[in-house]
């Protein structure tokens, strides 16, 4: 079996680092479905996961609690909580969250708290970057609007429309699901099916179920696409390196010839002066 050495790939095609890591992950590391939540801190990522799992596994607080990816297995799915975006001034955690999320996630929930209004510049930038990584991202990434119970229906509608416009402007085509984890919990705790229904959490879980069913074929397709992308990158780099080698060899020969010419010129010059 061919082992993917990430360092070797990074050395030659560093721009493909994410693709290589993901490919290695798909081929060598995990056969289990991983669902990761990803988004700004305090937008309800951990709460959403805890609600899906039905236990308070992930820390949910007003301050940023998650500094590294945290995982929990539930119903044959590994749920992953990533560090909240925008909480770290230097952006290092954002980078780690993105790297981690892209590498391991079969499904990525891009979480946005509807109370925050439309998407901010940073969210758009990161969403664009993530969607650029995989042209088949529609089957992998979903925009989850959380805490819909905290705003009026009209306001929610308005924000949803604004976000759709934002996504359209940047050519991002994401399925949006609006949910309320609080309503779902209350519905489950108090046995109120209507609350569960209007929390729309079921649609989220349906997404995961359908994905689980298609996991193998989706992963195979994704791996094929990644292989193809990496092959193109390698090929481009090979062409470039060949050209570089050709010019380096030419320079090596030419430099030697030039030196010899200049040496003979120098000696002739001295000889002429000496005779004169």
């Amino acid at each position: 079996m061919n082992v993917i050495d990430i360092d070797k790939f990074n050395k030659l095609i560093p721009d493909s680092e994410r693709n290589v890591k993901r490919l290695k992950y798909l081929k060598e590391e995990s056969s289990q479905l991983r669902v990761a939540v990803f988004g700004k801190y305090n937008h309800g990522k951990s709460t959403l996961l805890n609600t899906v799992i039905g236990k308070d596994i992930f820390k949910a607080a007003d301050k940023r609690e998650t500094r590294k990816n945290a995982e929990h297995k539930h119903n044959n799915i590994i749920w992953v909580d990533t560090p909240g975006l925008g909480a770290d001034v230097k952006g290092q955690d954002d980078k780690e969250a993105m790297e981690g999320a892209f590498k391991i996630a079969d499904i990525l929930y891009l979480v946005h708290n509807v109370q925050a209004g439309e998407l901010d510049k940073n969210e758009i930038r990161i969403f664009r970057e993530l969607t650029k990584q995989d042209k088949n991202y529609r089957k992998k990434m979903f925009l989850i609007l959380t805490q819909i119970d905290q705003v009026q229906a009209e306001q929610q509608q308005l924000i949803t429309t604004k976000i759709k416009k934002q996504l359209k402007k940047y050519n991002i085509d994401l399925t949006m699901v609006s949910v309320s984890a609080a309503l779902y919990r209350k519905g489950v705790d108090e046995n109120k099916p209507n609350l569960v229904k209007f929390s729309y959490m079921d649609s989220l879980l349906t997404l995961v179920s359908s994905h689980l069913y298609e996991l193998d074929s989706l992963r195979k397709l994704e791996a094929k696409r990644l292989v193809s992308k990496i092959r193109v990158e390698l090929n481009d780099w090979k062409k470039f390196t060949k050209q570089e080698l050709q010019s380096a060899k030419y320079e090596l020969d030419n430099q030697e010839k030039q030196f010899k010419d200049e040496l003979v010129g120098f000696l002739n010059n001295i000889k002429t002066r000496n005779q004169g």
Binding site: D5, L245, L252, Q255, R273
Partner: protein, 145 residues
């Protein structure tokens, strides 16, 4: 009696004539000596001039050699600096360039082969060749997936 009276005159006249001859001989001798002296001095002057000329020519030659050496050294430095050749000094290349061209070519070429410019270019070629090998290896990995 008259003849007797002439004797002193004759003696005087004889003496005068004799003196005159001696004087002529002395003058002639002096003249010869003066001419000989003149000739010697002229010869000496010529010799001195010739010596001065030789000395001047030697000085000029040395001056020209010094100028040539300086010029050759400056030009050699430019060449050696350009190709980052450090194991050969401008002075030694200049000396060789003036005295032994073929040795200058062989020495300078030998040092160029060890120069930083040449080794850097060689390293670059080697590194790119290795990079192509690495790419081929990764292509095999990808092909096998």
């Amino acid at each position: 009696m008259i003849w007797l009276a002439l004797v002193p005159v004759l003696i005087w006249a004889g003496k005068e004539i004799n003196d005159s001859i001696k004087e002529d001989e002395r003058r002639e001798r002096e003249e010869k000596q003066r001419k000989a002296e003149q000739k010697r001095k002229a010869k000496e002057a010529v010799q001195k001039r010739e010596q001065a000329n030789v000395k001047e020519k030697k000085r000029q030659k040395e001056e020209q050699e010094k100028l040539l050496k300086n010029y050759a050294s400056t030009q050699a430095k430019i060449l050696l600096d350009k190709y980052k050749i450090t194991r050969l000094t401008p002075d030694s290349l200049a000396t060789l360039a003036i005295s032994d061209t073929s040795n200058a070519i062989s020495n300078a070429t030998k040092q160029y082969m060890k120069s930083k410019v040449k080794t850097t270019l060689e390293k670059n070629v080697t590194s790119l060749e290795k990079e192509l090998d690495d790419i081929a290896e990764l292509e095999q990995v990808i092909k096998g997936l």
